[in-house]
């Protein structure tokens, strides 16, 4: 308990909490993506997978855990952001980067807000939306993604996810002190590759649904 309190009371410990929760969410993204790719296999395969998930007896506790991880990841980050704003009450008239910041790192808070808004919309439409028939999640998903506005929205948000991960994946490792001249370049490369792969693989689905599967069953 003492160890936990010492970590929770420190800026380093709080950042480690954000990093650990972020890495868990990276794992979730991998699993979610694997499921999504079944859309390419076909309606029956995807609906069978959806049915398997929805009848999983521990679905609700898992969903609750996932929601808690997302909210905690966001809440600790907001707390840290507020302390950071308090740490510099008067800003600069001119501020120019000397090359440390990246697109990913300097937009973390914006991509985070985008992702949070997306999650609400995504759950409201795909989890609680009206399906063509009770067992046809494929029909619901493709119904939305065939509309170019939804497809563009999904593809853009996935770009945001990629940007968020391009900094977050490596940053989490650095926060835990995982750093070595021999391995850090590889860790950075794997982080960037993971970010790009996740963003591209998720974004390809709406593009495929909208432009290739348009008008097809």
């Amino acid at each position: 308990m003492d160890t936990f309190l010492r970590l929770a009371a420190s800026s380093i410990g709080r950042k480690m909490a954000v990093a650990a929760l972020g890495l868990l969410l990276c794992g979730f993204l991998g699993g979610h993506l694997a499921g999504n790719l079944l859309l390419f296999v076909g309606q029956d395969a995807f609906n069978a997978y959806a049915h398997h998930l929805e009848t999983f007896p521990l679905l609700e506790p898992v969903e609750l855990g996932l929601a808690s991880i997302i909210l905690l990841h966001a809440a600790v980050t907001v707390y840290l952001k507020v302390t950071a704003l308090m740490a510099r009450p008067v800003g600069y008239a001119v501020q120019v980067s000397k090359g440390g910041r990246t697109w990913g790192s300097s937009t973390m808070i914006y991509t985070a807000v985008l992702i949070l808004v997306f999650i609400v919309v995504h759950v409201a439409t795909f989890k609680y939306g009206t399906r063509p028939s009770p067992s046809d999640l494929y029909g619901l998903v493709m119904g939305y993604l065939r509309d170019w506005r939804w497809a563009v929205f999904y593809a853009l948000v996935m770009g945001g996810v990629g940007l968020h991960l391009s900094h977050g994946a490596w940053s989490a490792c650095q926060t835990f002190g995982i750093d070595h001249p021999k391995y850090t370049p590889a860790i950075k490369a794997v982080g960037t590759a993971f970010a790009a792969a996740v963003a591209l693989a998720f974004a390809v689905i709406p593009v495929w649904a909208c432009f290739i599967k348009r008008g097809q069953p």
């Binding site: 420190s10 410990g13 090359g99 790192s105 926060t175 002190g177």
Partner: protein, 249 residues
Amino acid sequence: MKVTLRVWRQKGPDQPGRFESYEAEVPSTDMSFLELLDTVNEGLIARGSDAIAFDHDCREGICGMCSQVIDGQPHGPDKAAATCQLHMRKFKDGDVITAEPFRAKAFPVVKDLVVDRSALDRVMSCGGFISVNTGAAVDANAVLVPKDDAEKAMDAAACIGCGACVAACPNAAAMLFVGAKVSQFALLPQGGPERARRVLRMRSAMDAEGFGHCSNEAECEAVCPKEVKLSNIARLNREFLRAVLVSPE
């Protein structure tokens, strides 16, 4: 060559401040930025005005006193250089150069471009040292130190405590400074006995002084006049985790 200096003027710690502009003739592009400020101040004093207050001491890049943000970058646009090592050849005729004090809650403005950086000293006093028994001097090579560790410790010890890392950090964090100070001792056998206590106390003091958290944006590393590496922050994180999880402290 002529430039316009746009300088933050503030009479005292609790006074409101504002930018004032000064036209300055640059007699030689080989003069340093601080020498240009000296020239402007001579003119101000001759006119009976208050001179621009700015910190400086060694003027050879080793004391860390000349803390200013010039054109949006701590210590100005040069790489691996303190403000005193910034020369006017870096600018061109007609440039408007903005000089501001370091901005952080932990670095309150004293006057004009001078800030109080004693927060860093207070963090150091909590553990940035080793305890040594007095007596006869120990033989210089009695304790063996691996070459690689000695090099890393020396690189960390190059930190001059100027605070540019804090000034550049989007969160006004002092993690690179504390990381360097923790690293220079953690890497050497002499720092071993107080290793856990040091990192716990310095981390605690760092947060108490009101510095922000690290979001690994690496601006600190980019502006450091001594090129202290970000790996020192990773080492600080490791040292802290080790101290909290497994040390008896």
